[in-house]
């Protein structure tokens, strides 16, 4: 097993973000294993440590990556079109965060949380175009990680 656990964690985290940023979605355990030459068990150990450190969020049963914030591994109502790819944010904050992290122009297709009317945000030159609407943060900051999937 090459390197310390901490070194492997750093490599896995970097790989998760590299793939998420370049392809649109975080990689599977199998993909990480193949790309880094780590065994599946080694990848799983890294993912568990990264999740415990709140650097990633894993799916409950499969332990695949669910969230590499701001990226979601599953479709959400926060679709981000950027760099000729489709990404999904975990919430509207994360949808905007994808545009910030990629540092590219982006279009976010979302909808009103109340009535589902479609809403669109555009980031051009790292500036948000003027848009109607508001963002609601339902959970106080000190409880954000109590249930990050709900939040």
């Amino acid at each position: 097993m090459a390197g310390t656990a901490e070194e492997r964690d750093v490599k896995v985290r970097a790989e998760v973000y590299e793939v998420a940023m370049s392809s649109g979605t975080p990689p599977t355990i199998e993909e990480i294993s193949q790309r880094l030459g780590f065994s599946r068990a080694e990848v799983l150990e890294c993912l568990e440590r990264l999740a415990a450190a709140k650097a990633l969020v894993l799916q409950r049963d499969s332990r695949e990556v669910l969230m590499a914030n701001p990226f979601s591994a599953v479709p959400t109502p926060f679709a981000v079109y950027a760099d000729e790819r489709l990404y999904f944010g975990n919430c509207i904050w994360d949808g905007l965060g994808i545009a910030a992290m990629l540092n590219v122009d982006a279009r976010i297709e979302s909808s009103c949380g109340c009535c589902s009317e479609s809403m669109r945000l555009r980031i051009i030159g790292q500036n948000l175009e003027t848009v109607e609407g508001v963002v609601h943060f339902a959970i106080p900051a000190h409880r954000w990680w109590d249930d990050i999937v709900y939040n």
Binding site: A14, Y17, A53, K54, W93, A100, V134, P140, A141
Partner: protein, 72 residues
């Protein structure tokens, strides 16, 4: 964190879910928060999560202060 057409829609949503109203930000404020929060490159080996103090400082720099934004 959800997007709504207006504060009235937020209130309707809160009522239908039986939840108290949280904090309301404009899309521009949320963009500024997202930009500050997510700009650091998480592929960088030196990246680490912010400490509570660093997060408080970031939120305060964007005017996000008060009980809702307290982290402890």
């Amino acid at each position: 964190m959800l997007l709504f057409r207006s504060e009235e829609h937020v209130d309707r949503w809160c009522k239908s879910w039986g939840l108290p109203r949280g904090a309301i930000l404009t899309p521009q404020q949320t963009w500024e928060l997202a930009h500050a929060w997510y700009s650091p490159d998480r592929r960088d080996p030196a990246w680490r999560r912010r400490t509570v103090e660093e997060t408080e400082s970031l939120l305060a720099s964007l005017g996000l202060t008060g009980p809702f934004w307290d982290l402890r």
